[in-house]
Amino acid sequence: MTIRPEYEDLTIGVVALQGSFAKHAFSMGKLGIKSRAVREPADLKLIDALILPGGESTTMTLLLENEGLWEPMNEALETLPVFGTCAGAILLGQQIDDERVRCFNKIDYKAERNAYGRQIESFSTALVIPSMLDHDFHAIFIRAPKFRDIKPNVMSLAVFGADPVLLRQGNVLVASFHPELTEDPGIHKYFVDEIVLKSR
């Protein structure tokens, strides 16, 4: 794959407190895009967009708060394009009714944690994402959330059964599954081409 010249001066921040952050950095690397681990507030000044990875939303909430990252990140997300997967998607939505998790209210839904059940209900499936890819996307769902109370201003890009699983609202992109676990960087590419580059 040839690297697009527009990618050269981009740096995508990946919140690297816990979870699948290394996999997201690897997905960006496949596109020839640099990434930077975000573990303290100063890191937020050095990036063009942010990824909130999969992991445990309770653990991430605690680490974000303990490290003084929650407030600066909340502020940065007013303008910074962001992509959240699974736990990251839970955190980007409206505040859920669970005091163990603190949400950023950047996209209009409430996530229901572990909505498919425990690990034994985890699965993979082929998703059709017509506005994004000319091929099916192999999607891995791990103790995945469902998006509830989705407002009309939120665009659904893919569904599994009756449930929207890939959503966009302005500069915010979220997946209830894990594109970072798949070889195919197609969704990461969409995030960069359609959101990050167009917001500059």
Binding site: G19, F21, K23, T59, R118, Q119
Partner: protein, 293 residues
């Protein structure tokens, strides 16, 4: 749609990376663990230090206790079965445990065979002391490997030995010519296709965690700098003077394992870590790491 696929099993382990999995024996302890930032809890009746002290046969936990812990927390709940005891594993699967640990901490049920883990939808974690043992477990279907260390000792020396051994053996494989790998597999007693895979990639085909003797934030940092992607803490938390502070500190240490300044802050004023055991105090027949093969 399918959920038998191996990637779904290793996928959960990917989500646990950079985190701490804590042994808990009650719903109250499970809540403390979750509030301290644990990415998962291991539900068991007695922590390894107490199993070691009490003696007798250590078996899988009472389903009632496991269910109470599942109800108490929202993070994944793991549980242990005896090595080779596939009926205990079937029961844990029926309870919808998120990960089954086929563990040397419990008394082995089969001296010859480990569980055929491909038969289960629930993913398995298994301990290993060297690369061949890790690859045999992966061959049987383990989706996650951890060092065995010496459980219940608060002594990191065995976990270090196991992690360094696995690293050295992987490095050795990656320097070999392809025509040497069959002989290597024969000598190691490991599945050939996995030997080839490690030789090519230089790493295990599943996530690589560490357990057995981790008692302080510095221990967690040490294991992660040696290549562990996540830390299991058994007795180290609830045998320490201030469990809540120790739990929180080890969680932070798993994130900032490569930042000594930060670790110095994290390690301050935690109270006494668990007392621990020197390896010379343990009789050879009491070594848990020698269970399984």
């Amino acid at each position: 749609m399918t959920n038998e696929l191996f990637e779904v099993k290793t996928g959960l382990a990917e989500m646990l990376k950079g985190g701490v999995i804590m042994d808990v024996t009650t719903p109250e302890q499970a809540k403390i663990a979750e509030q301290a930032g644990a990415v998962a809890v291991m539900a068991l009746e007695r922590i390894p230090a107490d199993i070691r002290r009490d003696g007798g046969i250590a078996r899988a936990s009472d389903p009632k206790m496991i269910k109470e812990i599942q109800r108490a927390v929202s993070i994944p709940v793991m549980a242990k079965c005896r090595i080779g005891h596939f009926a205990e594993a079937q029961i844990l699967e029926a309870l919808e445990i998120d990960y089954i640990d086929e563990s040397e901490v419990l008394t082995p049920a089969d001296e010859a065979n480990h569980i055929w883990k491909h038969d289960f939808k629930t993913p398995f974690v298994c301990g290993a002391t060297n690369l061949a043992e890790a690859l045999r477990r992966i061959g049987e279907g383990a989706a996650l490997i951890r060092t065995k260390g010496e459980p219940g000792t608060g002594n990191i020396v065995e976990a270090v030995r196991h992690m360094r051994t696995i690293n050295t053996e992987m490095a050795n494989l990656s320097t070999m010519r392809t025509d040497e790998l069959m002989a290597a597999a024969k000598k190691m007693g490991a599945p050939f296709h996995l030997v080839v895979q490690v030789a090519k990639t230089g790493k295990l085909p599943v996530p690589n965690f560490s357990a057995g003797g981790i008692a302080t934030p510095a221990d967690a940092s040490l294991m992660m700098q040696l290549g562990a992607e996540t830390i299991f803490v058994g007795s180290g938390i609830f045998k320490s003077e201030n469990s809540e502070a120790m739990a929180k500190a080890i969680v932070q240490a798993a994130t900032f394992y490569d930042k000594p300044d930060k670790l110095a802050e994290i390690s301050e004023g935690l109270g006494k870590a668990m007392k621990g055991l020197d390896m010379v105090e343990i009789k050879p027949e009491d070594r848990m790491q020698d269970r399984g093969w």
